[in-house]
Amino acid sequence: MKSAIYYKTKRITINLIIHLFLLTVAVSCLFPLLWMLSSSLKTQETIFKDMSIIPKEFHFENYYLAWKEGGFGRYFLNSVIYTVSVVIGIIVVASLAAYAFSRLSFPGKNLLFYIFMAAMMIPLPGSFVPLFVLMNKLHLRNTALGYILAMINVGLSTSIFLLKTFFDKMPKELEDAARIDGCSKLGIWWNVALPLAKPVLAVVVVFNALNVWNEYVLALIIFDSKALMPLQVALMNFHGEFITKYPLLMAGLTLTALPIIITYIFMQKYIIKGVTQGAIVG
């Protein structure tokens, strides 16, 4: 038999190696963000020479310049508008449909549901090409409404799936009670089903909000005018300009990443649930 000390040292060594491994990867995850933040506080002159991680001087005015002169204030507002509108749209449209698929009966119900689900399974790379043509025909190209509707469609199938799964498991008694009290179907959906679905609604909200905030290619093909562009496209344009103002670009990147990271820290549970479930069904 080996001594207790042998086992203890062995366990401590193994734990140490594991922590070292985990810590190395964790640092590699955070460091690029730290470097982004650090670069955003340098000037166009010092950024190419001063390679220190903590800058010698903090030029917070870069954020002001990026917001005002870089136009990121405008793009930030656009991104907020698109994200909020799409999320509200999806919540209403998807929860109505999911409630019907779960609770109401009508001919062709299963077929319709399977069509929605098939849309998640069939890969359609390059679907932005016919979408561009369609947007032109409907005169929705280069409009906020066109982008919002297209993005509602993107999140629709997954959201319907998540909500229907939840409604299926929900006890029927409350709805029955409401019906006996004379509540209409729409009233039950609004007063009973939606409040009960809060946990899954949170998942749907953060999953879609993240998707819209980070979306690039549809915004690229739908918008021509700068005034309508969301952050992601604006960042790429800013980078593509003749002389890239790196400190301002880094400030713009920080402004884009910050809301996501803050939301993530506070809503970690829902985000992880949403993105993993969204990925698995999609």
């Binding site: 922590h19 470097w35 982004m36 449209v93 449909a97 698929f101 109401l104 509707l149 820290i265």
Partner: protein
């Protein structure tokens, strides 16, 4: 049932149906239609060319197939390096260990950031002249290793693949960890009581039970990585000289660069079919594994 009640029920799905029909079904049908034409996407006339677009893809478009191989190469690195890392990290966290929640929080930060943000930040770090990586290499006396990572044809594709893995391993980590946590602890206890060592337990209990999870992660990795392209736009734009081109970038280039909408749709259909075949094979494989 009364007709009025049925109509009422239809009203619930109507908004979803209308949006879905306009923005999903119509484009879906149009892809197949436009793919048969030579068309710039704007002019009122378009020329019917039958399957000529597809013939061109298969016979002449070398860059298209090069882009397919390159996406395959990135996928291969994601399948091996990225998923091995994800699995090892999940194993390391599947125990009573301090800071477990902290690690889980951090590992999922790269996946939630946009590809544009990740791409542009890494592009700045990897810059040939002013990048931090080359600065560090020079300071460590490894100046001969410093290079323009993203504009050197020898390193560009692998660099892109590694950054893609950096952004994506958090997914695999979370799914693997969730899988590991479903393995009943009693199984491990029982094996230990019977005198099995850690390596034996790992091979005979952990690995067999994790096969279905592994297949799931592999499917998600392949479908996700083959279609990834925004990260590449942000890092290299497909260059140097087509060395980091991938299929979806080619589709975008056919559409926006050369205004060949018919050809872009034909490329999309070709790629879509290839992805369908890949996921079908994977699906069959995963069924086989589940039977064992």
């Amino acid at each position: 049932m009364k007709i009025k009640s049925i109509l009422e029920n239809y009203m619930f799905v109507l908004p979803a149906l209308v949006i879905f029909a306009i923005f999903y079904i119509i484009p879906f049908v149009w892809v197949f239609q436009i793919g048969l034409f030579d068309w710039d996407g704007i002019s009122p006339t378009r020329i019917f060319v039958g399957l000529n677009n597809f013939i061109e893809i298969f016979k002449e478009d070398k860059i298209w197939w090069q882009s397919m191989w390159q996406a395959g190469y990135i996928t291969l690195i994601a399948l091996t390096f990225q998923n091995a890392l994800a699995f090892l990290l999940a194993l390391a966290c599947d125990r009573e260990i301090r800071l477990k929640n902290f690690y889980r929080l951090i590992f999922f930060i790269p996946p939630i950031l946009s590809e544009v943000v990740v791409g542009l930040v890494w592009q700045w770090i990897l810059d040939g002249n002013y990048g931090l990586l080359n600065y560090w290499l020079r300071n460590l006396g490894l100046a001969h290793l410093a290079r323009s990572w993203l504009s050197d044809p020898k390193t560009a594709l692998t660099t892109v693949a590694i950054i893609h893995s950096w952004k994506g391993f958090g997914w695999g980590f979370l799914i693997f960890l969730a899988g590991l946590q479903t393995i009943p602890r009693e199984l491990y206890e029982a094996a230990r009581v019977d005198g099995a060592d850690a390596w034996y337990i790992f091979r005979k209990i952990t690995i067999p039970l994790m096969v279905p999870v592994g297949v799931l992660v592999a499917i998600l990795t392949i479908l996700g990585t083959m279609q990834a392209f925004v990260l590449i736009i942000a890092m290299t734009g497909g260059g140097p000289a087509y060395h980091t081109q991938v299929p979806v970038l080619r589709i975008l280039a056919s559409m926006r660069g050369s205004s060949r909408f018919g050809y872009a749709c034909a490329q999309g259909i070709t790629f879509g079919f290839i992805l369908m075949i890949v996921s079908f094979i994977q699906y069959r494989f995963s069924k086989k594994f589940r039977q064992i």
